[in-house]
Symmetry: C2
Subunit: 378 residues, 2 copies
């Protein structure tokens, strides 16, 4: 049987690495960006476009949203999320924790878990480490996450410490439930624990060591990209990847801009996800190799050149800047659909290029030369 | 040079006919349904999906909307609507008249034309037969429409008569402008005049005779599908097609439901357009060979069968009823995208089947057998 994760090449200049992850739903070439399919759909994008045009290798589903809608009865009867949405490649689910803390209209924490009120209909629900595991098993993602508490930014040291310790106790319960309960479907599901500790180096060090000792097949870094300065995020990421095992995939949750993606890869990250490419696309913001474009600007009104001359997806060739600007002016759905495909395809191109440069041995020079361009405002 | 329109087969049992229309942007097999691309986009549908999945042969653009957004300066610099939206097959534009009367926030009619206030920004505009011609020339559709006044329903006899007479006078000005002004682009644009006269047989007869005498390459029937009973619409259509030339295409504007489409074909109509398949799709209503489906209904919650087992577009196979219902429950964009493709593909399948049955000689038996099914509520 093929190993779950193998590093093909470690960069000689730093911690960047290129690897391959093998799941029962196919392989993933790392470093990889995972489009977010919150409620069983990557917003405005057909599954066929995700695989053929965007070339997504793995997508993310949100446990909190899926638990509320369509609910676990439908999910299980469908045979899990892959079948429900007809997505044949790998899926990762978060634990629901982050959304319970950020979206639920009210919540009450205890050692046991969190009671919360749905943001949709105000109904009350309770989620614990065990329940999160059970829900994620029913969703059936190839990779699923331990139930954690994600601290906000800024966060007092004592709060961050107590929260981290709770996350560690919850992790034990997740692992235990996971070991003692059979899988619902025929494919293998792998649990990733999450390092917490806010922006405090000593806490992050403790957390990274505890998480490493669990011996999971992959590890995640949570509690970043929550409002802290970028330099803090890079610093903590770097400190944590110094500790997390080298031969296992590392997932930096909720990151980020194109330059965040490249810097994180430089710090030894293999997997990332973020709503930014799709959410910003729906507001008319395009990420390109030449910089950031606000397609709603007057300046594109008569620019009939292709949407993105360096873009690889069909929307980049099929539609002009002036046309997409018009669609946004006229509030036509198709505008959001086009920019969403463009941005996701760009993110996948970005990590593909990063991977090629890691393999070629010039990742850091390349990264440093492209980042200023990526940050341009066009 | 190929003739613009040739009837391949006249039905022996009635007025239905199968034909072929040839434009500089390709051929159209009639009878045909034309998806509506109001503001240079068939809502929620990519151009690639329109041609490859829906197999649309001609689409419609709305002059009123395109005149306001993106405006004629952008349109002309783009090289016309085909290039602006990158649609390579034929396009038909309406004259703007219908929308001036139904959408503009206020309007003032005169013999000369109509002054109106934009529904978008309240700005004032003036449109006359000549201006409508000029705008439509700039849009560059393969087929464009005379500027008419479309009467509402119900409509007093004297109002209908005066309005029809104005439409006839305006038609002369359209034809005259059209003959005395060069085309903007290299392809041929053909003007269709419009029969009016509300539900009054004597007015419709006069109008159909006057319109026939113009000798245009195709003719349209306007002022129907505006709220009158279906039987009235069929009766008037039948009376008008008794008069309009047999060897020229006949376009029934703004029609309709699947059964309206088939009945109209039975009365000798070759072309139809309607926002119904797309608008209703966005509200979760699917048209199928088995009847009408409200995909939002609880009954589809755990129905994991394909969206439409008799559907020919990829969405029919790719997605289940339960999944599409979920997307509507969760208000995900993708739901509207899926149902729009489904409904348009169904409408194109419907006219394709009608054409095949006309060619096979059993159109009327077939039509009468399928209409009750089409009307089912599933």
């Amino acid at each position: 049987m093929k190993k779950f994760f193998e590093v093909e090449k470690f960069s000689a200049q730093g911690k960047a690495r290129a690897g391959i992850m093998t799941t029962d739903h196919g392989s993933i070439h790392t470093p990889i960006f995972m489009p977010v399919g919150t409620v069983a759909s990557v917003k405005t994008v057909h599954q066929r476009e995700l695989s053929e045009d965007i070339k997504a290798q793995i997508i993310l589903g949100n446990t909190y949203h899926l638990y509320l809608r369509p609910g676990m009865e439908v999910m299980q009867q469908a045979g899990g999320l892959h079948k429900f949405m007809n997505w044949k490649a790998p899926i990762l689910t978060d634990s629901g924790g982050f959304q319970v803390f950020s979206l639920a209209s009210s919540r009450k924490m205890s050692e046991e878990g969190v009671k919360f009120k749905s943001h949709i209909d105000g109904s009350y629900h309770f989620i614990s480490p065990e329940i999160s595991m059970e829900i994620q098993r029913k969703i059936g993602a190839d990779i699923f996450m331990a139930f954690d508490e994600c601290t906000p930014y800024p966060c007092e040291y004592n709060h961050a410490k107590r929260s981290m310790e709770l996350t560690h106790r919850w992790l034990k319960r997740c692992v235990s439930w996971n070991e003692n309960n059979p899988e619902y479907y025929e494919h293998t599901q792998r649990l990733f624990p999450i390092v917490q500790g806010s922006v405090y180096s000593d806490l992050r060090k403790i957390s990274a060591e505890i998480i490493s000792e669990v011996g999971a097949q992959g590890n995640a870094i949570g509690g970043l990209s929550v409002g802290e300065p970028e330099e803090e995020m890079y610093r903590i990421t770097d400190e944590v990847t110094d500790i997390l095992p080298k031969n296992k995939p590392r997932y930096l949750m909720g990151v980020g801009t194109p330059w965040n993606i490249l810097e994180s890869i430089g710090h030894g990250i293999d997997m990332m996800d973020c709503v930014m490419p799709t959410r910003n696309a729906r507001n008319g913001m395009l990420f390109t190799w030449n910089g950031v474009v606000n397609i709603k600007n007057e300046k594109w009104k008569k620019d009939f050149s292709p949407l993105d001359e360096f873009g690889t997806s069909y929307v980049d060739r099929e539609y002009s800047k002036a046309y997409v600007r018009h669609l946004f002016s006229a509030r036509e759905y198709l505008g959001k659909q086009i920019t969403s495909i463009h941005n996701l395809a760009f993110y996948l191109d970005l990590v593909k290029a990063a991977r090629e440069h890691i393999l070629a041995g010039d990742f850091y020079e390349w990264k440093n030369s492209v980042i200023p361009q990526l940050k341009n405002r066009l």
